[in-house]
Symmetry: C2
Subunit: 303 residues, 2 copies
């Protein structure tokens, strides 16, 4: 993966994620021992998209590995918004469900905003509910934060990469990554306090702006978009992209590429995440963390 | 105010605000004519802070000028959180109140977050409720947006200053200005689509980062903080600061200074707001706009 002449340090998300999952597993074991209660994650998936099915399966597998109970609600493609709402309301009401995740995208016939706003913010382990986004912006520690940006922040923290006063340039302004990551990193305190720039497809001088970064985050969803002219010597690079690129030679007919041209830029960087094995595993680990946080917050509320 | 050798254009917020207030007045006259209903703003103020009293008085005066009904609830310094909550709940319930503003800061004994989260998001004309902040981040047009950032965006738009692809550097990361303005300007669409950097007191190389701006917004709350080394030739500057600076020679014993050293930098800028008369009047005009928006949204919900 890494070329021989590189001086870059590989930010191994898989190793950090494994450590975090071990911590979550220990925490859950303590919860079960003291209270007899084991947190539960309910995953809701609609339709037949094979990628969504794989994602949900991986999340459930990871949950079970750390000792989280899980439920998998797979609804048919024909499900209406009202039918999905009924399920969400049921899961909101149930005391034995701590976290609810809805695998996006939903089929077109279902109104995504209605569904996201219907989930109890206290069970919203995806962190997509406007109450959680607003609380994140306000620096409220009660916010449940979307898993990918939370994973990016944690990976920097666990890797000893200082964010205080540093200039982070994020390419991409989505609600899944760019905006919440910006809000996270501009907060006050450890692992934050950064100067944050959000750039995107409409940005003028995108390469020039990217070159001013101490930490560059690529979250634009275009394979190998970030090339040599985007990075200056000594930058730290987080690659959030997971893109399928057609490749006849490979068995599956495609390969997975990040948003960064890894081979081209790695040697200029101080540290860089690989794809796969960088931000991806951190995202799944943060779902485990959010499920435990949601469980603890609800227990506190009930106490 | 402006030195003779300057080539800068003055962004006259007072003139733009007067035009917007006239539009609001016409809109309200139409509403009254067609429905017989006149929007109502309830202002809540606690304690004896003289600056707060002046702000609320000005907001009520402006409301009445455009034809908004108003109520001024002035509570004593000794008010408890529970007592203030009772008033907020009453205003939430009343069909004849469309907008609720609470003048900040509140006395220390009152929990500000509890009060802000108690206001019905549909009546939250300050735009401080996490639901509104979250919806702003999500680009939801139903969001009520805080008045000062909304005023900044509108002043740029009305002045014909293009934001698409431009680099906006905001100095200051408060929930009143910096963060919501960043979220506004990074949205998709007209008057937005900007590359946005949020810098602050912890930022390294603050002057250098500021010099990369096409549009520089000073919202740091320190008098004349932005000096010559912060601006490059041809930048547009918005000065959000309203600071009292002691001045024995003046009758009041102080003068009002912005966050920008106006005399020092004006000649380098393409356009700049004065203080007073720049962003300030826009903030009040946006409160009028938000009150009408809140009234219209609630009428739609009720219909």
């Amino acid at each position: 993966m890494i070329t021989e002449n590189t001086k870059a340090r590989l930010l191994d998300g898989a190793v950090v994620a494994a450590r975090i999952k071990q911590e979550v597993q220990d925490e859950i074991a303590r919860m079960v021992e003291t209270s007899g209660y084991r947190p539960c994650l309910a995953a809701v998936r609609v339709g037949d998209d094979p990628a969504s099915a794989v994602y949900v399966r991986n999340k459930i597998k990871a949950s079970e590995e750390v000792g989280i109970r899980s439920e998998h609600h797979a609804l048919p493609e024909s499900t209406s918004t009202a039918e999905m709402l009924a399920l969400i309301n049921d899961l909101n009401q149930r005391d034995d469900v701590d976290g609810i995740l809805t695998q996006l995208p939903l089929p077109r016939a279902i109104d995504e905003t209605t569904i996201i706003e219907a989930i109890d913010p206290a069970k919203d382990v995806d962190g997509f509910h406007p109450m959680n986004v607003g609380r994140l912006a306000m620096g409220d520690p009660a916010a449940l934060v979307p898993c990918t940006p939370l994973g990016c922040e944690r990976l920097l923290l666990e890797s000893g990469i200082e964010t205080t006063g540093a200039h982070v340039v994020i390419i991409g302004r989505s609600m899944l990554v760019g905006k919440p990551l910006a809000l996270l990193l501009m907060r006050k305190g450890k692992g934050a306090d950064a100067t944050v720039t959000v750039a995107h497809s409409r940005s003028r001088n995108l390469a020039e702006i990217s070159r001013t970064a101490d930490i560059l985050v690529a979250a634009i969803g275009q394979p190998e978009f970030v090339r040599s002219e985007f990075v200056r010597e000594g930058v730290v690079v987080l690659d959030v992209g997971i893109n399928r690129v057609g490749e006849q030679a490979s068995e599956k007919g495609y390969r997975i590429a990040g948003d960064v041209a890894f081979e081209e830029i790695a040697s200029k960087t101080r540290a860089i995440t690989p794809v796969p094995g960088g931000v991806g595993p951190m995202t799944v680990a943060m779902l485990m963390v959010n499920t435990v946080t949601a469980c603890e917050n609800q227990t506190e509320l009930a106490a």
